[in-house]
């Protein structure tokens, strides 16, 4: 099942690249590298989330930082 998820994610990203790549100019090197970089970050994060769905995220960090203030609102 996990391998199916990985396959699906990869297919979506490839489709995305196929849609977007021809629309970019040849001169737009920076845009292309930004596109590739963000896509790779997305792919890696997706892999992590597939294998560790309970991975702590930014929300846990925020919650840890603001907990003393957040307690004011708890009832």
């Amino acid at each position: 099942m996990k391998w199916a998820a990985i396959l699906g994610i990869t297919v979506i990203l490839v489709l995305m690249a196929m849609y977007e790549w021809p629309k970019m100019d040849k001169k737009m090197k920076k845009e292309k590298s930004a596109f590739v970089a963000i896509t790779i970050i997305g792919w890696l994060l997706a892999m992590l989330l597939v294998f560790f769905p309970d991975m702590p995220g930014p929300t846990q960090l925020v919650d840890a930082i603001y907990k003393p203030l957040g307690k004011l609102l708890e009832k």
């Binding site: 979506i12 990203l13 995305m16 849609y19 977007e20 629309k23 970019m24 737009m28 920076k30 845009e31 292309k32 930004a34 596109f35 963000i38 896509t39 970050i41 997305g42 994060l45 997706a46 989330l49 309970d54 991975m55 995220g57 930014p58 929300t59 925020v62 919650d63 930082i65 603001y66 907990k67 203030l69 957040g70 307690k71 004011l72 609102l73 708890e74 009832k75």
Partner: protein, 368 residues
């Protein structure tokens, strides 16, 4: 400039209205009621001061750097390295926040209507629609808002009108039974919605009539405040203090409508309000992220990164919280302070630095 489109100040105001209000209409009344009890209709009024403040800060910063957004001028204000870190923080912050918004949208739709649909399908289709709108640029977003917002307002008023036979205004008494404090505590959570008005600092540079930006920003804050008071009052008049028990009071209220055994099942209206509002809200934040990222990386065009960022947004919406209970808890406790510090404290600091720099520059010129 990356963005070539232009919008009018009026369009900006109209765009900001659902951007703040969309997620507030459903869950906010019960979150406020936990703190404020019967004074819950007062809380949005206190909270709106944060909205007016945010518009003021954004406009003052905009006057100093008329052609730049907050990601660009933070580099001028606090130096290259700190400015870049700040820009990245803003981009990451809005990505996180938009993850919350998208998740909230998905949870509501799945929880109430499409019970058997996987949430990722609901979220994914919304993000795809928003991605097309964002690719169109700020002009398209402005026009979408202009078409949708009147519909949203009419539908909200229709719900309140149809509920009016069942409303008991007597529920409002006693006003301020325990002093001002409960309503002020209740104002903390809605004030983070109002702090989202700092988003206009990403839109102000693209206005055709900049001097009206402040005016329409203020009108928008006021409209949001009125609508929040209206939705809170409706919930209060209908359910009284029991509003606390419902996750989506307005939704339950709409289900409750039954006129002459003929007009029933009006929750579809709430659904329509929600989807249209959420579409504008998600698109505006999505646009802010894409534009901010493009400016941070100094790209010549933001359109190439729309789809990859959309994919990241879907991931963030899954990542923000393990389940809906945890999400509601975080939104009710620590997230308001996170939003306030990122959207009010940081811009205030930037404005402060800007004023000091301006003073020193003037002194330097006088000496030289």
């Amino acid at each position: 400039m990356i963005e070539k489109g232009k919008i009018s100040a009026f369009q900006m105001g109209v765009m900001m209205y659902p951007t703040i209000f969309a997620t507030a209409i459903l869950s906010l009344p019960s979150i406020i009621a936990v703190q404020a009890g019967r004074d819950m209709w007062l809380s949005p009024i206190w909270a709106s001061t944060i909205g007016f403040l945010a518009v003021c800060i954004a406009y003052q910063l905009h006057k100093l750097y008329p052609k730049e957004t907050i990601v660009e001028y933070s580099v001028h204000l606090v130096g290259r390295i700190v400015g870049k870190i700040m820009g990245l923080m803003f981009i990451f912050f809005y990505m996180h926040l938009n993850g919350f918004i998208i998740r909230e949208y998905g949870e509501f739709v799945v929880g109430n209507f499409f019970v058997k649909t996987p949430i990722i399908v609901v979220i994914g289709s919304m993000v795809i629609v928003c991605a097309f709108a964002v690719r169109g640029g700020v002009e398209v977003l402005g026009r979408c808002a202009q078409i949708f917002v009147p519909i949203v307002i009419i539908l909200i008023l229709l719900i309140v009108f149809l509920l009016s036979p069942d409303l008991k205004p007597i529920q409002i008494y006693p006003i301020m039974e325990h002093g001002v404090k409960p309503s002020l505590m209740g104002a903390v959570v809605p004030s983070d919605w109002f702090s989202e008005f700092i988003v206009i600092s990403f839109l102000l540079p693209y206005l055709t009539d900049r001097e009206k930006g402040m005016k329409w920003g203020m009108i928008s804050v006021f409209a949001v405040m009125l609508t929040m008071v209206l939705s809170n009052m409706t919930a209060l008049f209908l359910f009284g203090i029991n509003t606390v028990g419902f996750r989506y009071p307005v939704m339950v209220a709409a289900r409750y409508i039954s006129l002459a055994n003929f007009l029933e099942h009006l929750e579809s209206i709430v659904m329509a309000i929600w989807i249209v509002g959420a579409f504008v809200k998600i698109s505006v934040f999505y646009y802010v992220i894409v534009l901010g990222t493009a400016q941070w990386l100094k790209l010549t065009d933001y359109r190439p990164i729309v789809w990859p960022v959309g994919f990241l947004l879907v991931l963030f919406s899954v990542w923000v919280a393990p389940n809906v209970q945890e999400m509601t808890r975080v939104v009710g406790t620590s997230i308001p302070f996170y939003l306030l510090s990122m959207q009010v404290a940081v811009p205030t600091l930037l404005l402060f630095i800007a004023f000091i720099q301006k003073k020193f520059r003037k002194k330097g010129r006088a000496k030289g």
